[in-house]
Symmetry: D2
Subunit: 328 residues, 4 copies
């Protein structure tokens, strides 16, 4: 894995990107799940940089939607949604550091049909919502349970979708805020960005001692924007490798994989999410290559790529990326 | 005060809008101030409905900007901004209730010049910010200290502005979140809406036992939108009368005064803040008058008024109102 | 009218703000109405600066909605909506000049009920539209015909609204574009801003020889935002006094009345309309008073007022204003 | 080209997707270029469905920026920007029909360095603009001339970008409007969407007799969003094959290529562009497959892809697509 050797995690991590110890957090270990990203709880485990942690996650509905005849509006109890496993305390992490999390695998967990998607009243990208507050009647609710495994997502008799799993919600704790796990922001959270997938490293700002890493909300497959607001949700087993870059301060999450480096912004309106992501990428390109930031701005005009994560959550998420080969 | 007798507070409050007990919270009583609206702290006092509470508040900078030669970027230590007095625990308040807070007075406190405004880098309505993330250089910082009293705000040799005080930040705690006091949202918070002024009653949703009322950030005068992001900030003494409406559930803050009833929305983009405020007002008008909500929508097309609170905070705030005389 | 003597129109107009000649354009004179603001038609009349022109306007539906049982979606034939009287060619007007239009009166015209409002599918501030393109079903259509005169708008048995007439759509032609009269923009157009009322002067940029002044779409009363998209529409007789300020270039419409000076912006999202209006007002205040633009920015933070024109048209319109007394 | 045989153009075109006649429009033939999309000019040629037309286009600056020492703000003369070749009158085209335009090739034209990009004051995705109207100083202007051919874009000693040409601006005339060629909208225009490339068919609504097809503004390569506002602009020779689908009414542009079908929306804020594109795609999927539109909404949640065209023009452009294989 030669690109990995050139990654920030391998080059600058306290553990040099090495896997050193192994840990696990099962559903039973976790016990009580969390619905906010915040510092006001006790960590479920403490690990050193270099830890490989196997984590069991619930689906976004904590497994409560079990049948296509269920009515989400009756079952779901806001704000107790999108349960998170963690927090993981990373020893030595302090405000101003950067947490590096390599995603080794994301596997479905539990009995079939493992996958759930649904239409929830006043939630989604093509309906009136609590914020885009209109007088139109909501769409009818609908639940769809879907069989899936690591070979495919069996959507219908005619359509099998690829199994392209990723972590919908991952991040560190804010310093003094405790924010709903439904929201993405500068610390990560509910970004719903398909690039946060096996083979990638996500970098997160550390805001509080120990970083407090939370994770949940895995998706078996998702289109750009997570259009109706609910991807192919599944309970999962996730393997993460955690490292720490001391004194490396980032304002927003970043991501590396074999092909590209990405910066991630979350905001409303959607152009502000894009501006955040692209301004961060200008800064990254300028820092990596030594070119003036205005030169980076012009280069990205030709070579920048945009991935729409979500257009449904309290903030919308955009990833901006550039191929590694242009960072010269 | 005949309109008050017809207010929701007087008609439906546990204390029937009566003043029953008196309390005070000084700066010394408060001791440690709070920078989030959340449930993870102990109340500073507990009161019954009917309580009249005199509260001392810091200015948004906790008094740290003392001279026109100060540099805000050096002095201010994010996220420790906009200190809040409280929380006040209101006995009997439960999720689903509505807190009614009548504002009796807002008076300046401390030595002259009492007032502070300033330009802060990457903050304000007409500059690039952390969210509207651009490559332009920031404006130069600037502090302006202003003498003011209850007769006027002495802006310059030529211009005296009226003393039109109000509470910039007031609200209840979310149920499980703890959100920066810089943000306005469904529970109130940093709305920066000039109608939250002496003579008005603000209604706030109760999300957690005891409601946890916070207050701070008083302004001596402010234009619509709080354009540069910093109004005429002042330390203040505020007198509030608190009542509780049991089982009256509201989704967003509401306000009554002699002239009108108002509903308040906070969101980005600004049209979503307006949509929230106006949808809530449609619902209020329909509920109060018995007309169909689509009729209310048409009536507000002719008679609705919009007040822009802020266009600078993490969410923008809009109040939509209708004259009391049309609620027939 | 002493404030008028200090207005830009009186001080700098070619005709010094004097009324010099009188003209009229009746519905019959006009013959064919226009649905775009553009230079590709012949003027209906040519006038000199100082002209007082009495103009008859259709309502926004060209009088086609005559009964409460009409269905707007059947009757209205997009893009042939919002018919405009004009254009009026102003002799001597060239690109870079500024047209000043004093509104002397706006009177209802035609048989009762003169007023029309309605709910139109996929149009309005609290519904899904062609731009905020959602899957929700539209609201039912509804027409309301309303009796009105210069004493009041007789909304219902219980509610009489004030007669507060203004011109919904007024502007000059773009240089080479021809833009729907449903849209507001830098040249004026469908601003739906209640301050464009008798007693005010509106200033418009001249983009093409003769300026090509269009006018239409009068409203008997309207709330802030024109919430459902259709105000109290009426056919009207409008008296305008036209003057010309040579070599005075403005980027967006401006307005003066007895109380304040206003700058007007139209854009989406709504914060951009507000930013345009307020940036123009910063520039105006700095130019009028000699203060630095950053000082103007701080002053407007305390003393700026915002009027929401429309939140329903292809661009939203905001007026920002400051009291004349502070322009010292 | 088997996918082409299954395209709407081949299946339903008047010419059945066949190439029947050949035509050309050189710079000299065109003579006077156009800066608006409108019906108020004479066509440069008339063709039948099945026509293959070779078109010469200027770059967006009409070739006026020739040196890296040029200052765009001095040279460019708004609104005379983005010159368009055409209009091409397509015989038989009427309002309500759909024009199909297959892009056969886009080749650079003229002496080296053929490519131009630049930073223009108050224009671009990461700067304050005329709409996002702020007080920050603009970035310094900068012109970059770039050598390019069909093998590559020679950005610097270190970086060669791929030659991935496409048409930045293409569309039909509105019915009565004439809109700046800088703007994208429902009729196409300045979409700056890299998928409008050789090998694709773009479908455009016909709004006026003869359709009036305009084309210009070719780019040699561009990143998602056209970040600084100016892609790798080049004069070009474009080969188009034009067909006509009678009675097939579309609200917004659509596109087909070997891999996917795409719907295109242009609006502000950016979420509205995304909503338009995705709502159109829901409608397309439902029409093509017979599934309920809410099912299409759920399928696109898993399988929809988003391409950001521009985040810099008067409206932002988004393409939403789904792989052809899922249209079953």
């Amino acid at each position: 894995m030669s690109w990995f050797e050139t990654s920030l995690m391998a080059k600058s991590g306290v553990a040099k990107g090495e896997a050193r110890t192994t840990h696990s957090i099962t559903i039973a270990d976790q016990g009580k799940f969390h619905y906010v990203y915040g510092p006001y709880v006790d960590p479920v485990i403490e690990v050193d940089p270099g830890a490989v942690v196997t984590v069991e996650t619930h689906d976004a509905f904590e497994g409560k939607i079990t049948s296509e005849s269920d009515q989400p509006s009756k079952i779901l109890n806001f704000p107790y949604l999108n349960p998170q496993t963690g927090p993981i305390y990373v020893k030595g992490a302090e405000k101003g550091d950067c947490l590096a999390v390599k995603i080794n695998s994301v596997k479905p967990r539990g009995p079939q049909p493992v996958g759930t998607t649904c239409l929830i009243p006043e939630f989604g990208g093509l309906v009136a919502t609590g914020d885009t507050a209109l007088l139109n009647d909501p769409l009818p609710e609908k639940v769809k349970k879907v069989r899936l495994d690591e070979n495919g997502v069996y959507w219908s008799d005619k359509i099998t979708l690829p199994y392209e799993p990723f972590i919908g919600t991952i991040g560190t704790s804010p310093e003094i805020e405790a924010i709903s796990s439904l929201q993405p922001d500068y610390y990560g959270g509910n970004m719903d960005l398909p690039d946060v997938a096996p083979g990638a490293i996500i970098y997160l700002p550390v805001n509080t001692p120990g970083a407090f890493l939370y994770v949940g909300d895995c998706h078996a497959v998702q289109g750009d924007g997570e259009l109706c607001g609910v991807a192919m949700e599944m309970p999962a087993t996730v393997e993460l490798q955690v490292d720490l870059i001391k004194g490396h301060t980032i304002a927003w999450p970043r991501l590396e994989n074999e092909e590209f480096v990405m910066t991630i912004g979350s905001a409303r309106p959607l152009e502000d999410a894009s501006r955040i992501a692209y301004r961060e990428l200008c800064r990254l390109v300028a820092a990596e290559t030594g070119m003036h930031i205005n030169e980076a701005y012009m280069l990205l005009t030709m070579a920048g790529k945009v991935r729409l994560g979500n257009m449904v959550d309290p903030k919308y998420t955009v990833g901006a990326s550039i191929a590694r080969k242009y960072l010269v």
